[in-house]
């Protein structure tokens, strides 16, 4: 039986966003961080995921995804154009897009299409929550720096 915890809807709740924001602020206060802000934010997101998803596990296992992707040499795609059929072209485009998506979602390169879609769905929901929470945190911190101190409830309720 799937509860809210195992669906991508869990990323939509306000409480989840609040928790993430608080934890993010806490983590960013520390000085002994070994990761960049981006990495800590992603790791925190992965932790919040609870280990149920493949992308979260991939993020936590030493940042396999985005940093290393830029350094990889692109493998030569094997030639599929043996015939000029439309089907071949469609399949090729489809495969290319699937591969791109697999590379975008951490840890999902060699995954079946349906699993990839699952992971992508959860990942997108999580990313959206991350963007909301981080923009709230950044807004509040920047605002606080200039001296105006809106109550924390601003950030907590923010759910755009």
């Amino acid at each position: 039986m799937s509860t809210l915890e195992s669906t991508p809807d869990r990323w939509k709740t306000v409480s989840q966003q609040q928790i993430y924001s608080m934890k993010l602020i806490q983590v960013l206060r520390r000085t002994d961080r070994h990761f960049t802000v981006r990495e800590t934010a992603d790791r925190l997101l992965a932790v919040s995921s609870g280990g149920r998803t493949r992308w979260s596990r991939a993020i936590l296992s030493n940042r396999l995804s985005l940093n290393m992707m830029n350094n990889r040499r692109r493998r030569r795609h094997k030639k599929v154009r043996v015939s000029g059929e439309i089907r071949m072209k469609k399949k090729e485009a489809f495969d290319r897009k699937t591969r791109v998506l697999g590379e975008l979602v951490p840890g999902c390169r060699k995954l079946s299409f349906s699993r990839l879609i699952d992971e992508a769905e959860d990942y997108i929901a999580a990313l959206e929550m991350q963007v909301r929470a981080m923009s709230a945190v950044a807004g509040v911190l920047a605002g606080a720096g200039a001296g105006s101190l809106p109550a924390d409830s601003d950030k907590l309720g923010c759910n755009n």
Binding site: I25, L28, R29, A120, A125, V131, A146, S148, L149, D152
Partner: protein
């Protein structure tokens, strides 16, 4: 051969996703069976069941009950190969249900698991009947097969086929490890296309979910375009995160100072809050903005945890709290005007 194994595994997986619980059992059986048996290279019809063709023919000409059923079904089916198939489906149903009960028996396990695996395929469900099977028929299975026949009858009566039927028997709670996929009229019913279709349905359902998630994907038709949109969306989200984290890292040195202001319950007097606005701008040009802002705001509170380690060297918090000016003056780089301003602000506050 691999295609068959794969498609079978997929159909059992699909059954698992739809809520049946004995998927593991089904898969294991399938793989074990596949390993031990060598199917014929003939048509998939007999290859699955590994019956010599004479036995298959015997099944086709089975009892009167089935024959009448076959006759009845022939009116409603387009293709010619169907009439016997429903009869076979019946027997397969009966025997596969039997197989679930008797699956623990090792001697007949191969036969049984074959029935288990052959269940999903409508057109090819011929039971691998060995002579000892009929005596294993239990009343509950007969009940279930009766229910299934009823469903089939209803289906035939209306002339339409239900796309997928998960056989839920109200009498017993046993979950079957597979999904019954009924073929629509005019669609091919061999194992590959059935399994393929089940897979496609699953994928399409997931794509629909994604379309709801990604804004602007509802209008787009076609998997490739939707994939494009999804990719764009993910990339834009990642870029946004990147941008926000850059902003946060620039704000970062001040985070700790501002934390207590964020979390504090106490309210601040207007004078105090206005003050930083006046004092800060000239300070920022030094590049010591963070020091000044904190000094202005937090004369009472010095939430200096570990942050000041890189800036001021290791110092204990009490020292800061007691002698903030001293600690600030000990800071080397470009702190020339800082103490002056701090004393000014201190006086004014």
């Amino acid at each position: 051969m691999e295609g068959i194994v794969e498609s079978k595994a997929r159909s059992t997986n699909y059954g698992g996703i739809l809520g049946t619980q004995s998927v593991q059992f089904g898969e294991e059986e399938i793989h074990r069976v596949m390993g031990t048996q060598a199917p014929e290279t003939g048509s998939s019809f007999t290859a699955l069941l590994e019956l010599p063709s004479n036995q298959a023919v015997e099944l086709l000409h089975s009892s009167g009950f089935d024959a009448s059923r076959a006759a009845h079904s022939s009116e409603n089916w387009n293709t010619q190969s169907f009439p016997s198939n429903t009869a076979l489906l019946e027997r397969a149903a009966k025997f596969s249900e039997t197989s679930i009960e008797t699956s623990s028996v090792p001697s007949s396990s191969s036969a049984n698991s074959q029935k288990v695996k052959s269940e999903p395929f409508d057109s090819e469900t011929k039971p691998n009947i060995s002579s000892d099977q009929p005596e294993h028929v239990i009343t509950s299975t007969q009940k279930r097969s009766a229910k299934r026949k009823e469903i089939e009858k209803k289906g035939k009566g209306t002339g339409k086929k239900i796309k997928k039927v998960i056989n839920k028997n109200p009498e017993d709670k046993e979950m079957l490890p597979y999904v019954h996929v009924r073929a629509r009229r005019g669609q091919a019913t061999d194992s590959h296309s059935l399994a393929e279709r089940a897979r496609r349905e699953k994928i399409n359902a997931r794509m629909k979910l994604l379309q709801e998630l990604v804004p602007g994907c509802d209008k787009i038709s076609g998997t490739a375009m939707v994939l494009d949109e999804i990719i764009n969306h993910v990339q834009s989200l990642q870029r946004q995160v990147e941008f926000l984290s850059m902003r946060l890292s620039s704000v970062n040195p001040r985070i700790d100072f501002n934390i207590d202001s964020l979390l504090a319950v106490e309210s601040r007097s207007p004078a105090e809050t206005n003050f930083p606005g006046m004092v800060i701008p000239p300070m920022w040009s030094e590049g010591q903005g963070q020091l000044n802002s904190t000094r202005n705001q937090y004369q009472q509170l010095w939430p200096l945890d570990g942050f000041h380690h890189p800036v001021w060297g290791r110092q204990n918090n009490p020292n800061f709290i007691i002698t903030p000016d001293n600690s600030l003056m000990s800071y080397d780089s470009s702190a020339n005007s800082a103490p002056l301003h701090s004393s000014q602000t201190k006086m004014e506050i």
